[in-house]
């Protein structure tokens, strides 16, 4: 065998070792790392496959969906990219890079739907959901619950002493904060368990007045739009837009962010 061919064969072997294809990896973490290496070399399609393999193997981290979103965006799949960034933010609302990329991609969407002006409470609620997240509120609630228990015990032990008023007031304040935090936590959990947000993953989508093709088209939406998914009937889902418009679309054209998370 001549030497150049041998050298090329060795180089290809080395390249194959350093850039393992998605099918050759084992374990979700290794699949993610393989996807990252493929991404860094511009092989976005294979990188996306590797990320999907990691997802199939049970990986559910915000970073996985963030990287998936990047690969999907590089392939021109704007709807998939938005879906992945939304999933990353659902898992970690404080994921700064996912927030940045989502904002960036959303600027390129066809549909610009002005959302109704919120009240101060509504803005605070949205800020809690988007920037703080359920987990942080849960930890805060647990901390204040523990504090309430500790201060409550101290108050009961000292209820016959001179400092009982101070401890009583402190216990009341902490208990009030705990109850408020607990209320917010409960509402957020309820929302997390009931809300179904969908992303349009097809280029253009006709929204009809009923769950069948023979219903009139009410309006059309485009890839990447976030909608709220309500009912499901015979493979169709009812979607509600941020401006309140609603209608029915085939279920496969909208992917729910929270599914599988």
């Amino acid at each position: 065998m001549n030497r150049p061919l041998t050298a090329i064969a060795i180089l290809m072997l080395l390249a194959g070792l350093t850039l393992p294809v998605a099918g050759a990896v084992s374990g979700p973490a290794e699949a993610v790392r393989a996807g990252n290496r493929l991404y860094e070399h511009g092989r976005y399609r294979e990188a996306l496959d590797a990320y999907h393999q990691a997802e199939d193997q049970g990986e559910r981290s915000a970073d996985l969906f963030y990287n998936m979103g990047n690969a999907a965006y590089r392939l021109g799949h704007v709807g998939q990219a938005v879906l992945c960034y939304e999933r990353a933010l659902w898992l970690d609302p404080g994921h700064v890079d996912a927030r940045f990329n989502l904002d960036f991609v959303q600027q390129q969407l066809v549909d610009k739907i002005p959302e109704p002006e919120d009240s101060a409470v509504g803005r605070f609620w949205n800020w809690l959901l988007a920037r703080v997240g359920v987990d942080v509120v849960a930890v805060i609630t647990l901390v204040f619950l523990t504090l309430s228990a500790m201060v409550g015990v101290i108050f009961l032990r000292r209820r016959h002493t001179a400092g009982r008023r101070v401890w009583g007031a402190l216990a009341a304040v902490i208990l009030a904060i705990t109850l408020m935090s607990g209320g917010v936590f409960g509402a957020m959990v309820w929302r997390a368990e009931t809300l179904r947000q969908g992303i349009v993953v097809v280029r253009e989508l006709d929204v009809r007045s009923g769950p069948a093709d023979d219903n009139p088209v009410l309006f059309s939406v485009h890839e990447g739009l976030k909608v709220e998914v309500n009912a499901r009937v015979r493979g169709w889902v009812q979607v509600v837009l941020p401006n309140g418009w609603n209608g029915w679309v085939p279920g496969k054209s909208v992917t729910v962010v929270q599914d599988g998370l």
Partner: protein, 609 residues
């Protein structure tokens, strides 16, 4: 005096808001008659005034089953002169014919004026049988402009002779121009009678010359001129700046206006006699010449006017990598706007960034005057003296018909060694603007920042959810135990009883440690003391009651089984016997007594020891 000042201030406070209000857009809806016949028409007129009047447009057309739309919207523009100030208004008219008799409402109309939407209120009109139009009258004709300038006195409509009292003229300061040379153009109205308004009838203009209309609002431009021995008031109706773009002879076509005038009726009370006349302006001939070929430099870029070119540097001593600002200013009179780009000659060792352009240009008689400044950021990248060469521009001066080469001075820049790298200016070294050249998504998380896991949210994890009731349970237990301890301590007897076993066991451990291989007096004494204390604490048996009979009775009362009582009595007897006859325990080892004591304690404590 103070009173006058106070009145003056009060007047200012009243008049100032009114004048501000006057500057806002207003829409006024009027009809030509509140009572018409079923065979008549009625005209609804919407008059829009204010700075955005010309932009007014109908957003919702009027619709009503009671009226049929005959024509509209008919749009006209009015110019008015009040105390020498020109104002513009736009009138939109609709002509309706009723479909039935009765008290009907003319529909409202929605107008977009500037950023606001105005909607007129419905207007009530009484429709009667037949016709109420005056014979020969034209008030309700379908032409909405017919009564545009009607002032309403209406008693004498015979036209007066105003042939020489009102005329129009197109005037320009210069009628012979070079291509690229700008000049002003004005449509002037000369008048010797009272003019109540003008309306555009026909536009003038010409191909090949650009017109840019100037704003007349808010400027006092009334003046008087003498023509053929008569004094006329002269008021500009429109003003433009002309931008010739190609050479040739051009005639600017005349403009035709309808003019509302009011002539003296000669009556004792001096009521004016209104009428509408039509006037046509003159045709203005312009000669546009090309730039002379002779002596035209190759780098002439169309700069026309009288200019000077200057350059300055904010500092001439810098360190390498430090930014310095160079300003090149073109000042004078002429077509600044044709010179948008100015490049510095390349200089070795200097990086030149895209300049910022700042304008200070005003129009005077249609000619731009002022200055345009280019601000370059220069960054020297190596030490030494660098000479910035002169910047040059070629301008044609229409006054002398010559080309002139404008040059700045050369500037020397002394550059000392700097710690900054050659490639780019850094923050804090001078006014170097940051320039964003593109946008993209952020890179994947692939290195140390990559965080993998199941991604299951904390609030969905069982152990985390379990922490909430656990905290409550632990707090409850602490409170229960604490309460129990508190209660026990409050009762000395109970406290002693609860602690009896603990104390006895502790004493027993001590005895076990200190005991030797054989039985000693101290050991036996300690053992007896242990039992006396225990029986006192646990069963409230005083030391003097510790006799065989009494002890048996107490323990039996306390429901202690007989075997245990017997064994305890035997142990105590043996210890007691040791005091008088040490041989009683001679064959016994301390461990045996300890084991017996531990067993008895366990029985007495109910197996808790």
């Amino acid at each position: 005096m103070i009173k006058r000042v106070a009145i003056g201030i009060l007047l200012i406070l009243v008049v100032l808001p009114l004048s501000l209000l006057a500057a806002e857009n207003t829409v006024k809806a009027t009809v030509d008659s509140r009572k018409i016949g079923i065979n008549d028409t009625v005209t609804l007129r919407l008059t829009v005034e204010g700075p955005d009047a010309m932009s007014a447009r109908v957003t919702a057309a009027p619709r009503s089953a009671d009226f049929r739309l005959v024509s509209g919207p008919n749009v006209s523009t009015q110019f008015r002169f009040i105390n020498g100030r020109a104002s513009t208004s736009k009138v939109l008219s609709y002509v309706f014919m009723p479909t039935r008799q009765g008290q009907l409402n003319l529909p409202g109309v929605s107008l977009q004026v500037g950023d606001r939407t105005f909607t007129s209120q419905p207007v009530a009109v009484e429709v009667v049988a037949g016709s109420v139009a005056p014979s020969g009258g034209n008030r309700r004709s379908a032409d909405p402009l017919a009564d545009l300038f009607d002032r309403g006195t209406g008693t004498d409509r015979r036209p007066a002779d105003v042939a020489d009292d009102v005329f129009l003229r197109l005037e320009a300061p210069k009628t012979t121009l070079y291509v690229g040379e700008t000049t002003g153009l004005a449509l002037l109205i000369y008048y010797r009678v009272s003019v109540t308004g003008v309306e555009l009838q026909q536009k003038g203009g010409v191909e090949g010359i650009g017109f840019e209309q100037q704003n007349l609002s808010g400027t006092r431009q009334l003046e008087e001129r003498q023509v053929n021995g008569k004094i006329y008031k002269v008021q500009p109706v429109m003003k433009w700046v002309l931008y010739p773009s190609r050479p040739g002879q051009f005639d600017i076509a005349p403009w035709v206006l309808r003019i509302g005038v009011e002539t003296s009726s000669g009556s004792f009370f001096g009521f004016g006699r209104p009428q509408v006349i039509q006037r046509r302006s003159n045709t203005l001939a312009l000669t546009i010449r090309d730039y002379p070929r002779a002596g035209r430099p190759a780098d002439f870029a169309g700069l026309c006017g009288r200019f000077r070119l200057d350059a300055s540097m904010d500092k001439t001593r810098v360190t390498a990598g430090e930014g310095v600002t160079m300003r090149v200013t073109l000042s004078g009179t002429g077509n600044f706007r044709d010179i948008t780009e100015l490049a510095l000659p390349p200089v070795d060792g200097i990086k030149v960034y895209t300049p910022k352009v700042r304008d200070n240009i005003q129009l005077q008689d249609g000619v731009p005057r002022g200055s345009r400044t280019w601000e370059f950021v220069l960054v020297p990248i190596r030490e030494g003296r660098v000479r910035i060469p002169a910047v040059e521009l070629v301008a044609f001066d229409p006054a002398d018909g010559q080309y002139h080469r404008l040059k700045t001075r050369t500037i020397d820049l002394d550059v000392s060694p700097g710690a900054v790298a050659e490639s780019t200016p850094t923050a804090g070294t001078g006014p170097v603007p940051l320039e964003r050249k593109g946008q993209d998504i952020r890179f994947i998380h692939a290195g140390a920042e990559l965080s993998l896991g199941t991604g299951r949210p904390l609030f969905r994890r069982t152990w985390f959810v379990a922490l909430f009731p656990l905290v409550i349970v632990v707090a409850g237990l602490i409170m229960v135990i604490d309460e129990r301890r508190r209660r026990v301590r409050s009762d000395t007897r109970s406290w002693a009883r609860s602690r009896a076993g603990l104390r006895a066991r502790k004493a027993l451990r001590h005895l076990e440690k200190t005991a030797g291989d054989g039985i000693s007096d101290a050991f036996v004494q300690g053992l007896v003391e242990l039992w006396l204390a225990y029986l006192g604490d646990r069963f409230a048996i005083s030391r003097i009651d510790v006799t065989a009979n009494r002890l048996r009775r107490h323990l039996t009362t306390a429901e202690i089984d007989g075997e245990t009582v017997d064994r305890l009595l035997e142990l105590l007897n043996r210890c007691e016997g040791h005091r008088y006859a040490p041989a009683v325990l001679e064959q016994t080892r301390p461990a045996e007594l300890v084991t017996t004591t531990r067993d008895l304690l366990a029985r007495l404590e109910g197996g808790t020891i």
